[in-house]
Amino acid sequence: MTNLTSTPGLDATAAPVATKARSAGRKSDTKRDINAFTGLAHIGLVIWALVTAGPLIWVLLASFKSNTEIFLGKPFALPEHFSFETYFNAWGEAHIGRYFLNSVVVVIISTAGTMLFGSMAAYVLARYKFRGNRFIYYLFVSGLAFPTFMALAPLFYILKNMGLLGTYTGLVLVYIAYSLPFTVFFLAAFFKTLPYEIEEAATVDGASHTRKFFQIMMPMAKSGLVSITIFNIVGQWNQYLLPVVIMTGPGAESKYLLTQGIANISTSAGYHAEWSTLFAALVLSILPMIIVYAIFQRQIQAGLTAGAVK
């Protein structure tokens, strides 16, 4: 992404020339070329779209089907009966709505925390020389290699001793801690690529380190921050093992996260084999995500792009 900063001047010259060229008569060639190419492109894209959307359509259909239809019938056949009973069950008895909100709250706070602490650490590690810098950096990066489930038992004790079991505070802190390795790794690399001139100018103007970070570096790093934010949201949203270990104790049930809620349904799916309710819960939990993503897609894209164009 950095290399882009070294291509100024192009915009001044290239665009007009290109326009001229187009009007000069190679138009038809280009057009045919485009058609053949876009045709192929569309075929490829449509196939992949089908491959990704297919299973989801299957989930949607399955939420209306009986077990026999789900497991023995034609995968994409329409259900014999349409009834929203499974959805009411998922929403009512399984409290999918509440768990969804719990998840939203936890993920928002912990992602915000991850981004704040992660970028602070990454910034210092990327742009300041001091003793122990490399050590701390590699300490963080080594966390990438540590499989989370090995930590489950020790974590339980650590939180218990701190009195944080069954609390959102504990969960959020753990989420942040386990998201730091990749966040620091990614952002440190990113901060290194940002130009030093502006920062030096600010130093000359007497800006403090802290101000430089929040007012100059953060805005410049916007695209990196947005990408890693998405990484973290997705990762934390799908987390299952950690909340299972941490959200325990009396009254924890009302604090369950969405993944736990779905797991609870599938627990009973194992016994009663109510797969359609499981899939209904799934649809309920995916839909808002799809809608949010579809609405904000442009902003996300813009955010991801922003920093680099500068």
């Binding site: 290239a14 485009i34 989930v59 742009r127 090995m150 942040i176 995916i286």
Partner: protein, 301 residues
């Protein structure tokens, strides 16, 4: 750097480092310690030196699992990145240039939304869905597509293809995210560069290889590291989807599954920790190798 540099550094590092040490480092130090014991997970702890490591050296399943991990480690990043790059390219630049602007193919916004779907599903659910996709009889989605008189493919029940099936699911889930990531990178490549190149008679294929890829190289490397780490995991999929978890006959066993089963099912917490230590160093080696390559724009002296 002058004026309050150290207070600033400490101020910025103290919270993240404290959090990290409390919740992550402390936990893995304990794993290292346990790898030298024969602890069952219950009861007294007895130190046995490097016995666990000797044992795993002779464990056939361990070597099988390592091979499977390496198989995924090589293929998952390569295939995912290639697919994601191609799709991102089509979505952003594929539509050619009109009115002085390069654009994606028609409908690219819809594609972008659809491609992202798999990211929204928890892996456990993905595993259930693909259990049906790879159904070994005619009710399976893929087998159902074939003519009725074909012998159905066994997919996960066939030792030769079990691991490949897992790989396909991993790729399926990952591609969408990297399409978005690469799209962002491509969006930030000034259109003029493409214009200029197109003027020189470059085809789209050339554009892709001569402009897009080099300019996106940093992003690709990050993707590589992330996918590599994901490749070392793939626990949930193998655990839920495969025959006899890791079977048939170990044909789909991976290290993370071995660790999990030894720790939580076979009451071999010590052995599991030893496997965890091995996995840790393997991942670390991989990350270090990748970092070496990525380091080229490092500022440190």
């Amino acid at each position: 750097m002058r004026r309050g540099k150290y207070p600033f550094i400490i101020g910025f590092l103290i919270v993240p480092v404290a959090l990290y040490c409390t919740f992550v480092v402390a936990a893995y130090l304990q794993t290292f310690q346990l790898s030298l014991t024969n602890w069952s997970g219950l009861g007294p702890i007895e130190y046995v030196g490097f016995d666990n490591f000797v044992k795993l050296w002779h464990d056939e399943l361990f070597w099988k699992s390592i091979r499977h991990n390496i198989f995924v480690l090589i293929l998952l990043p390569i295939v995912t990145i290639i697919l994601a790059l191609v799709f991102a390219f089509l979505l952003n630049v594929g539509g050619g240039h009109k009115g002085g602007q390069t654009r994606g193919v028609w409908g690219s916004k819809v594609y972008r939304v659809i491609f992202f779907f798999p990211q929204l599903l928890a892996l456990a659910i993905v595993a259930v869905i693909f259990g049906r996709v790879f159904g070994p009889d005619k009710s399976g989605m893929i087998n159902g597509l074939f003519p009725a008189d074909w012998k159905p493919w066994l997919f996960l029940a066939d030792e030769r293809y079990a691991m490949l099936c897992i790989l396909i699911v991993l790729i399926w889930q990952a591609v969408g995210f990297y399409v978005v990531l690469f799209s962002a990178g491509m969006g930030s490549i000034p259109a003029e560069i493409y214009e200029a190149a197109a003027l020189d008679g470059a085809t789209r294929i050339t554009l892709f290889f001569r402009i897009t890829i080099p300019l996106l190289w940093n992003t690709v490397q990050v993707a590589w590291v992330y996918l590599g780490i994901a490749a070392f995991d793939c626990f949930a999929l193998v655990n839920i989807m495969t025959v006899d978890r890791g079977g048939p006959n170990g044909a789909s066993s991976v290290l993370s599954l071995m660790i999990y089963r030894n720790a939580f099912e076979f009451s071999q917490a010590g052995y599991a920790s030893a496997l965890g230590v091995v996995l840790f160093f393997l991942t670390l080696t991989f990350a270090a190798l990748t970092l070496r390559v990525t380091r080229r724009e490092s500022v440190e002296a």
